[in-house]
Amino acid sequence: MAESELNALYRLVQDGDASAEERLFQGLGERFGYFAQQRVGNVQDAEELVQESLMVIAEKYREIEITASFTAWAYKILENKLLYYYRTKKNRAGRFVALEDAVPSPDSSTSDPSFKRRLLLCLKRINRINTRFARLLNLQHQGYTVEDMCDKLGTTRNAIYIILSRARSMLKTCLEKGDVE
């Protein structure tokens, strides 16, 4: 793999390009934000975790010698923050905000209804070709783990990943072109 944008920016900062630093942290913050929201499900907490991680990175990255990948080192800091967050989560009752209050619901008025209609249409079209994507999604909505799905469908974890990957590809094509073909 060619050097990533983030590692390239890191190298520029190391070489004394001060303007690269802002872009480095912006890019890192965006990705970290995506990861944290995937795992925390609470926008406010996710943002705080990212900010805290970036602060640690900003404090340390000039001081220590990063021999391998900068992104891998930075990611470890985010992971540690996430781990600490879950360990202390039980003591944060006072900060609890219902997910619906914290995250704008995708079915709220802010979402694009035409996009949702297209998505529903595409799901129906995919379902005509293969029903397993809907079945897997439905099982996931019901709280089944991938292991449970494997037991239920008599398949392997890898096969499930392949089904999801192919369905995603079809869904993407359909959303872009209006059909799965």
């Binding site: 990705r31 219902a98 129906k124 398949t155």
Partner: protein, 764 residues
Amino acid sequence: MSGCQDPRIAHLLSAYELGMLRDEERREVELHLLDCDACYAELRQFQHAVRLLKQDRDVRQAVRLMAQEPEESVSGLEEKTPRHGAWSRPITALLVAAAAMLLLILQPWEVEFHPTQEAVAVGPRLAIMYLENLADREDEQRLGEIAANLLITDLSESGHLQVVSGQRLYDILKLFGREGQKQVDRETARQIADTAGANIILQGSILQVEPYYVLTANLVDVRTGNVLAAQHVTGDAHDDIFVLVDRLTAKIKLDLALPAAAETEPDRQVAEVTTHSPDAYRYYLQGIELLQKYYHREAAENFHAAVALDSTFAMAFYYLAELEDGHLIDQAMLYINHAGQKERHLIRSRHAVFAGDAERAIAELQDLIKRYPDEKTAHYRLGLLYDARGDYAQAVGYLETALTIDPMYQQAINRLAYTYDRMGRYEDAIGAINRYLALSPNEPNPYDTRGDIYARNGKVDQAIESYRQALEIKPDFTASLYNLGHMYVMKHECELADSAYRMLTIGNDTNNRSLARIYLPYPAFCRGQFVAAIEVIDSALAIDSTDGLADARSAFVGCKHFVKSRALMEQGKAARAIEEYERYAAIYLQTYPDAINREHGYYVQLLAEAGELPHAAAVAESLKVALEQEQAVLDPYWHARGAVGLFEGNPTAAIAAFQQISAASMDYPKQFLLARAYLEAGQLAEAAAAFEALLVNYSSTRAFWCIWDTKVRYYLGRVYEESRWYGKAVIQFEEFLKIWKDADPGIPELDDARERLVRLKQQS
């Protein structure tokens, strides 16, 4: 994926977006995303679609419907897979395994054989015991109880199995003398499950809490004691108890080999039908437990704590609506999607009750008991609704069913006692109370109820004794303090009434204190001291204001204006009395905007008492039009017409109007006015009977109208005098003058009573 050279990551991306990867795989993908701009751009581009797939209700519903459709083809996504290849083989194996499992599990099930020989399984009936918290034997966080209750809620959502409710298990434990016990041995668990009619017990444990949860569960055949299946779920570091319960629920459903249709029925995450906050849920469960013991105030405190942590916790609002402020049912309705199927029926039913729609309330509860037939609360509430409609036979039927489900159901026995009493079955009422007392000798409520039954049957001293017994058990038991105060008011023991009411003004809850202050002027009313009473009311209103209750929504503030209007009218300050009533009406209108017309009979009554007869008659007629438009009963109109007739000197018209009022609405003040109309019309026998009935009525309404209660003696004296029962008349006048011996000067009835008494004594 264009631009990315790593096909392995490409095929993990979709599972990553949907949150389906293992921890180590997720880490691998995220590290890749930091270095691969193409994959990251791909994710961002698809982010909105993924959010819809994961969270959007409509999309989830559509997916659920699609999953119900039969598979049409296995081509397409797996075009390289042979038609009877990798998928079909495991499914066949699974079907064989499922059939074997089904046989194993069906054996102890109730299986009904119909004439067609078609076997219809009634289905598994599961009793879920508290999970043993092996990580903390003391279980200070009540995690075992939380997990069990969440499992009950989650599994109860399925229409393909029956789950014994947490309430039922609590009741059976109580029946076994183990109330509130969290852990029971295997044999006791079997007996509990057997009593609940369950054929499978779920026993489990919390093996570990930190750094991630580990739960185990065994499904045990109640009849044989054999373990049918064992499950074990392990969370990730970020998974809370709700996620683990969802996973365990899914595994248990698999073990129970439910019908294929169960797979496609709606099955929302348990946090979505309860709360996302473990702490809020803990407070909620504590609230329920306290409610079961009738510790309403303490229960409400816990429900408040629950909604403080989760402002969308529908069932916590539901109980707060029941315990404190009926308006909170609107909050429960607002978040009804955060409640389970059973709870939604309860919320909708209570909402209907609050809206005055008894039919809809009954229909909701009847739907509930169709699906959850042993839900005693629904039977109980149906009993209440039929009781309120005056359909006592139906009420008794539902209450007795509730008692069949739970022979120790105190609330049902309690209500049954009142219903029997209303049916005139005093002996049965006392029998029910004695049963209640035998069950709960150390709780205040049975004594309080017995006090009520005694009071309603004119046994006021026995009632007082019973209320005192309740207060010996719990000195701040609110209901008994109110009732004791009312009894003393009706006995004209004003000091004792004052001390009971003042006890109620001590407490942490501003609303409860405000409610109690409504009664603080009553001891003064009891003495005929209206100036003092108004001072007390003004002081109470000032305290309400200090307590932040002066806003228009406080019904308790409104009630004080109503009480003040009565005091002013007794002083002959009619214009000010009407002004105070209008303040009350303005608050009432904001609190119960749909019900204001039900109160306007009193407004017309005040206008008529004030001598504004044309205005009163006009308001009465417009009230009639309004009630007819609402398709409401015309009782308030007949009240208004009766009052106009009485005060314009047409007692015959007044009697005719009052007689139109339904029995359920014919409360103390209307009975008093009717009795007066009989007197004015010269129907002395009817007047005597009506006034005498008022003297043996020991309801809280009589206490509320205690000024007129004292005046009953004056009017009864007049009735006896005109009936030439002079001796009895003297007794009534003397009693009246004795009660109001320290009354304000200038009360016309007092002056008249003195003159009549002198005249009667001279005659004798």
